[in-house]
Symmetry: C2
Subunit: 483 residues, 2 copies
């Protein structure tokens, strides 16, 4: 049977089974698996069991609910158990390639009082707008259950499954993926031994019309500059004008970091950024995006660039520096006449190839120290890295991406846009580094789905077509000559 | 009888009556008259009645507990009554001068849990350290009751009271003196009609050894710069580098206000400051103060000046600009990757003669707008005054100050230092403007009394000598040829 014939059968089954697929999604969403709410932890665990039952009924083997131990502080209950990671296999044929699919079954908090039009943990099937509304519909219960439906569609269509599938479904993604890194490291040569590629469906199209594949994420180095002055907050009436004020020094130091046009003023960073290649230029030219879409997303006309390529490149492949705020200064409403004794400025730099994180930190710390020294202030200044996560960029023309691009073309009739994201998904890098394999981000939902927001939704067409793409992807990948 | 003979009798009585005076203070302090705590409002009122009873027993006349109406929002109880102002007269002889004495009977909050060594509303008489410890001992129950003891000392010493005395004791000073301004305006030509001078005992010596008289206060203009960008807070991963960030603009604008050496960089302010006169120079040279005292007060070695005159002039008679903080930006601990959508920078300028408040505001607003315009940012900027209070400077050689200086010399054997304060006591200006008379600040306590802090105290010698100075002051003032 040709691939086209197989796809015809599978896709027909996906369409037929749509009501049942939505039903499974509805049952999953009914469980309020909010990982950040300790009181709802039993619900997160319940959802893991629900998924395990689904996997079992589909014939998955070696199903494990892997415990990750107690949650580290801060927690109210010091014995609070992390939710389990759901590992399972479908097929174990040495002649077939093995694909690990990652998803998370926990969700962000949601309550009707937040402004939802409907109860967030009851899936609403909006026939008019043809969308599925509910917490987790797009992030990430919808895409996650998509993989189960791929298996069922094959079974009911009588088509042999083209690869060995391994699931790695976690329940702490919305709370920092606690414990998952260690599990990946431990299982790299065990449960995940034969994995050829990793597919993550946990991001979104850039816009609302064009399917995309995502091959890059920026990293994030988060810094603090602490200026220390008097031993306690002082009254500006009594001490204003005779004491060196930490807040004045901090404003001066932070003013040297970046200008209002977004240009980072710290010397030495620009030089580390990999030059834009011809091939990259081509990728950006093809992408469907406009400054209007950016303005709509930010709700304002405050874009720093007007050209599509500039916007996208500055979002994805150039570094940026954001000043987030100040800890220790007066942050309330009204007029408090305080001289804060110690202030901590917070800023972060989004990193891209080929910025070396350690070198960056050295440059940033030295810059802050140098600028502070220029002030000739009797206060003290300390700049430090408080958190970092590396960037990730994959080859968007490797076997996995090529297979997914073909699958997208088959389902949607168009080549997917090749996108990156400006933020980070740390687990991507973890899989890549620990399993020494490539990773692909295959989004199911659209840019306007409202993940983490109210009235989160997934268009029914994205759900159905997403399952079809996942199916076709596995076949194309299975057929690809390289691993 | 010569003045010296009168003083001898009065001072002897003050010494004899010390235990009774301390007893009255103890009874007053026992009432937790915290004006900022709505639940304690009945206690504030109770303290007003306690004072009225004291005044009555001393033979004061026309005693009024003047109601000021309900407290304006924000309040929990919309019908919350302001505590009354205690008005009373002692003597009404047209041949005598009339002195209005102002004090406040409300206090700052205090609780043992804050770190007090003893119950804050139980006066501790520390015989070893010779001090009185309790909330209100120095701010302002001690000085306020001092005036009652002056009357009693005269009565028991059999000395005719030299002036007509009017009390104006309020119960909302620690909460913004709500309602008092209006009362002063209303009574300017009624209860306060014949007032020749106003004496306020509600501040402190500069240090711990030298008595002072205070003839000036800086004003305070409080400003906000609001930078408005996107419609809501954004994720720095998604929007960092492509959106003009309000916090970046704000840091740039605030960086143009003042340098780390305390020099205000806004053009046009320096020109408004009255030049330092020869006579002023002499005043500053005589004052007992050192950079070590400043360092001790700030708990750090962050003084901008080393010379006594520079420190004091920059504290009292030159303007200063303090940056207090930012509303709307991330102010917590840790690493939040937010781009704040709207940030409000807060700064204030302490004003001095001859800065015109309106002109200053015009200069400040135009400066911020001009500096923001230079940034060429698509965000919007608004600078505005949110609160102001004028400076106050009196002639420290007028009849009232001269009388108080003589009284100090008689009691302490030294000329008092003539000081100003860097902060503001708005009611000073209210009395001066509405009664069209001069005002003098005659402090009783020391610079280290810990007003508003834990273990607030008043040295017994300051209490006793303060009552003596108040007594002698009234006699010298009564004798002065000018009014």
């Amino acid at each position: 049977m040709s691939l086209d014939q197989k796809f015809e059968k599978i896709f027909k089954k996906v369409d037929e089974l749509k009501p049942q697929f939505i039903d499974v999604l509805a049952k999953a969403i009914e469980i309020p698996a909010v990982s950040s709410d300790e009181s709802l932890r039993p619900m997160v665990v319940k959802k893991a069991h629900f998924l395990a039952d689904q996997l079992k009924s589909l014939g998955f083997s070696d199903i494990q609910l892997r415990e990750l131990g107690t949650q580290p502080p801060p927690v109210n209950d010091p014995k609070l158990q992390l939710p389990p990671v759901v590992l399972a296999r479908y097929g174990n044929d040495p002649a077939k390639k093995t694909v690990l699919v990652y998803g998370h079954y926990d969700v962000q908090p949601a309550a009707k009082e937040d402004g939802w039009d409907s109860e967030p943990f009851t899936l609403v099937v909006d026939e008019e707008k043809q969308l599925l509304k509910g917490r987790g519909s797009t992030d990430d219960t919808g895409p996650l259950t998509g993989w189960l439906h791929v298996v069922r569609s094959h079974q009911e269509a009588g088509i042999e499954f083209p690869v060995n599938l391994i699931t790695c479904f976690e329940g702490m993604e919305e709370s920092g993926s606690l414990g998952l890194d260690d599990l990946i490291a431990v299982e790299a040569d065990k449960y995940f031994k034969d994995v050829d590629t990793v597919c993550i469906s946990d991001n979104y199209w850039l816009g609302t019309k064009k399917p995309v594949l995502t091959y890059g994420l920026r990293g994030c180095n988060y810094y603090q500059v602490t200026i220390n002055g008097p031993h306690a907050d002082l009254h500006s009436g009594v001490f204003g004008g005779i004491i060196a004020e930490p807040m004045i020094d901090l404003v001066q130091v932070m003013g040297t970091l970046v200008d209002s046009q977004g240009k980072i003023k710290i010397e030495g960073i620009e030089e580390m950024v990999a030059p834009v290649t011809e091939k990259e230029h081509e990728i950006y030219e093809k992408i469907d995006f406009s400054v209007e879409e950016l303005n709509a997303a930010s709700g304002s006309n405050t874009s720093l660039y007007k050209k599509k390529e500039d916007i996208l490149m500055h979002r994805w492949r150039f570094p940026s520096l954001s000043i987030h705020g100040v800890e220790g200064a007066f942050a309330g409403q009204g007029a408090k006449t305080v001289i804060p004794a110690k202030v901590v400025g917070k800023f972060s730099i989004r990193t891209v190839p080929d910025i070396d994180s350690e070198k960056l930190t050295k440059i940033v710390v030295e810059h802050c120290e140098r600028e502070f020294a220029k002030l000739n202030s009797p206060n003290t200044c300390k700049a430090e890295l408080i958190h970092d996560g590396n960037y990730w960029v994959s080859d968007p023309f490797n076997a996995s991406f090529t297979a997914a691009a073909k699958a997208t073309k088959v389902v949607y009739g168009v080549e997917p846009d090749l996108t990156r994201e400006g933020g980070s998904i740390p687990i991507t890098l973890s899989f890549e580094e620990k399993l020494k394999t490539n990773v692909m981000l295959l989004p199911m939902g659209r840019g306007d789905d409202g993940a983490h927001s109210i009235n989160e939704k997934l268009d029914i067409s994205n759900f159905v077509n997403g399952i079809k793409i996942m199916s076709a992807y596995l076949h194309y990948y299975a057929e690809s000559p390289e691993k």
